[in-house]
């Protein structure tokens, strides 16, 4: 199978280089944790012999040491195996266009949820995500999106007592 061959290989040259990025990321997080722990001011209400900085320092060291070992592993040719799944085909490269469009739909929801309300922002999220994933049934998608967003609004409000932001539909819903 084509999927078998490509997923087991996993490491194209491109991934090989980018995997050093993971080590770099771990090291950076470790350094961040370390610095912020060392900068913690002396606590006045501290109880017990172990202060608030001790565990962060241990975690930071763990992260930095792991980053070094990961870099060594990658340099020796070790590769992380990308995760498979029912709907995943690892043959081609990463489809960044779809991912980016999904992120845009996601952020649109986050920005609009309070001014416009969940009914609209949620519908925009669903419609946008479906569009990003290749659906071109404009009207059907919109109908499903609004049924979902209105439906969940009522289920949460009536069934669970959690009121999602009504936004511009305040007083109508």
């Amino acid at each position: 199978m084509s999927t078998a061959a490509s997923s087991s290989g996993g490491g194209t040259r491109e991934q090989g280089r980018s995997e050093f990025g993971v080590a770099l990321f771990l090291g950076a997080v470790g350094l961040l944790v370390l610095v912020s722990a060392l900068l913690l001011p002396e606590s006045r209400i501290s109880r017990g012999p172990v202060g608030p900085a001790a565990v962060p320092i241990v975690v930071a060291i763990l992260l930095i040491v792991t980053a070094v070992f990961l870099a060594i592993d990658v340099a020796r040719g070790g590769r992380g195996e990308p995760e498979g799944g029912e709907d995943i085909e690892l043959g081609g490269g990463t489809d960044w266009r779809t991912v980016l469009m999904l992120a845009v739909a996601f952020i649109a929801n986050a920005l609009l949820i309070e001014p416009l309300g969940w009914v609209f922002s949620g519908a925009i999220l669903f419609w946008g995500a479906a569009f990003a994933l290749g659906s071109r049934h404009w009207v059907r998608d919109a109908v499903i999106a609004f049924v979902l967003s209105i439906g969940t609004w009522y289920v949460f409000a009536l069934g669970l007592g959690i009121v999602m932001p009504p936004g511009i539909l305040e007083g109508i819903l």
Partner: protein, 541 residues
């Protein structure tokens, strides 16, 4: 028996009409969502987590028991009816299950999976009911030092045993621990890693972490590699089994229970290893060896029973120590913590109604699973045809809904995307998710135990060492040093058995490409390691 009378009280709690309704609802929702391809049990539980915020504790946990079993059964339905395996725990079921389905025996495969799950789940829950009080009684005597040691063991066990690469497991663990540090330190009142952002002062809500890692991360990752051709779904009628199917199934069910339960109870990561062992066992013991690789019913019955038994086994450390052994259990623990209840050795004595209500509803959830899923199988099969654009759009929709509903805070939505991006990166570079989620949940508690232990000893490191914690730390050291230790030991018989089985699986799948030869081999290697590791560990915790 004390346990039995408590259990009857538990049924009293669980059998009220409302709770019964929610148990059924949980099974229904759990199965429906678990059936959807790409959604594993952990994501099912994470996505449904916010629903329980509006319910009272007992009802919520009872619903979760249903979701837990439903989600798992849903996953095996997917792996039987689709030609591609989903999450690791159902890979083994897919081996024989999808072959049976393609040979026109899909309904028998689903039936033996459903009934086997019921039998194993019921027996294992009974085991849980009998074992939990004893373990909890022992656990109450455990000192903070011991508890800390046990948590370190849980971290190292999920890190070193699971996954192909230790260093990537450790990386995931470290990231999880770092996320767990964010927020105000309870003991000193200091803000850690909050960068002056007030929303971070209380730490990142565990719902946001779980939904971000499992739902948003998965949706983004799948979207980046979406299979554009239609999937091949095998049609199915009502599940039924002939006399000979029954005859060939009942022993694998019972053996699966025995294999699955203890594996679930130790923090070595879910159902993957025991289902594989069950498969190998059935293959050795079957009277129809020629059918293996072509759709042998034993190869579905055994692993499926094992899967469910290990799910129930996972409840033992969860309810008695507050330590999750699988991603799904970790998310359930988050649910319990969300109600302000601290899981741990005292849970059983401080909230007996809750614990026994939960155990009773595991029985009810199991029964509901059988009652609902046999007739509903054809409908579940239809769910597999849902257009992928709607499926993943829906995941993002419900993930955002849940994360916002938890705290009514827009900031959480941005965090959700960031953690989703982290989940994406982890999937791309083969960092396992389990160490990360376990570290987020257990990390803060481990720190608390550590500080308490050192407070008792007045800061002397010796306070961390007593007879029990020394034993636990030795096991940790062995697990960490295993690659070196293994070279000094003679090869054991189990390894060759497993290697041979892996070779057979490989051969069987060369024609179908169901799973990659390389990944099976890799799985086996590490299973062989695990098998040997087990002999060093005490089974009690």
């Amino acid at each position: 028996m004390d346990a039995l009378s408590s259990l009857i009280d538990g049924f009293g709690t669980a059998l009220t009409p409302t709770n019964l309704l929610f148990a059924f609802l949980g099974v229904l929702l759990g199965t429906a969502i678990g059936v959807l391809p790409g959604i594993g049990p952990a994501m099912t539980v994470a996505l449904l987590l916010p629903l329980t915020r509006g319910l009272d504790v007992t009802t919520a946990l009872i619903m979760f028991a249903g979701i837990y079993y439903g989600g798992m059964y849903g996953g095996s339905t997917t792996s039987i009816l689709l030609n591609t395996p989903g999450e690791s725990a159902s890979v083994i079921t897919a081996l024989e299950g999808s072959k049976m389905a393609r040979a026109g025996r899909a309904s028998q495969a689903l039936a033996t999976a459903a009934i086997g799950s019921f039998v194993a789940g019921t027996l294992a829950t009974l085991g849980l009911a009998l074992l939990a009080p004893t373990v909890a009684e022992l656990a109450i005597k455990v000192s903070p030092a011991d508890m800390f040691a046990i948590m370190v063991l849980a971290f190292i066990a999920v890190t070193a045993v699971l996954g192909s690469s230790r260093v990537r497991g450790l990386a995931s663990l470290g990231l999880g621990l770092a996320i767990g540090l964010i927020g105000i330190d309870k003991t000193s009142g200091q803000q850690r890693l909050t960068f002056g952002i007030p929303e971070l002062a209380d730490g990142i809500d565990i719902i946001v972490v779980a939904v971000g890692l499992f739902a948003v991360g998965e949706a983004l990752w799948t979207a980046a590699h979406l299979r554009r051709r239609p999937v091949d779904v095998i049609p199915v009628g009502n599940p039924r089994m002939s006399r000979s199917d029954w005859g060939r199934s009942w022993k694998p069910w019972l053996r699966g229970t025995v294999i699955g339960f203890p594996f679930g109870a130790i923090p070595a990561g879910g159902a993957e290893i025991p289902t594989f062992l069950s498969y190998v066992t059935e293959k050795r013991l079957t009277k129809h060896p020629e059918e293996f690789g072509k759709g042998a019913i034993e190869g579905v019955a055994g692993p499926e029973a094992t899967n469910n038994a290990s799910a129930a086994g996972g409840m033992v450390p969860l309810l008695t120590l507050g330590i999750p052994t699988s991603a799904t259990a970790a998310v359930m623990l988050a649910a319990i913590q969300g109600f302000g209840i601290q899981p741990g050795p005292r849970l059983l004595s401080s909230h007996p109604d809750l614990v026994w209500g939960l155990i009773a509803s595991l029985f009810i959830g199991n029964t509901a699973l059988l009652v609902l899923n046999l007739p509903l199988a054809p409908i579940w099969a239809k769910l597999l045809r849902i257009p992928r654009s709607y499926l993943y759009a829906g995941i993002l929709f419900f993930a955002s809904l849940g994360a916002y509903a938890a705290n009514a805070n827009v900031f959480d939505l941005f965090l959700l995307l960031i953690i989703g991006a982290l989940g994406f990166m982890m999937r791309r570079y083969g960092l396992p998710l389990l160490p990360c989620i376990i570290a987020v949940i257990l990390g803060p508690r481990a720190e608390e135990e550590l500080r308490q232990a050192l407070q008792i000893s007045n800061g002397h490191v010796s306070g961390l060492l007593d007879p029990m914690s020394i034993v636990v730390f030795v096991i940790v050291a062995l697990l960490l040093a295993w690659p070196i230790v293994r070279r000094l030991l003679p090869r054991r018989a189990t390894e060759s058995v497993l290697a041979e089985a892996a070779h057979e699986i490989e051969e069987a799948h060369e024609h179908t490409g169901l799973t990659t030869a390389v990944s099976v081999e890799r799985h086996t290697e590490r299973r062989a390691e695990v098998r040997v590791d087990r002999s060093d560990e005490p089974g009690a915790w």
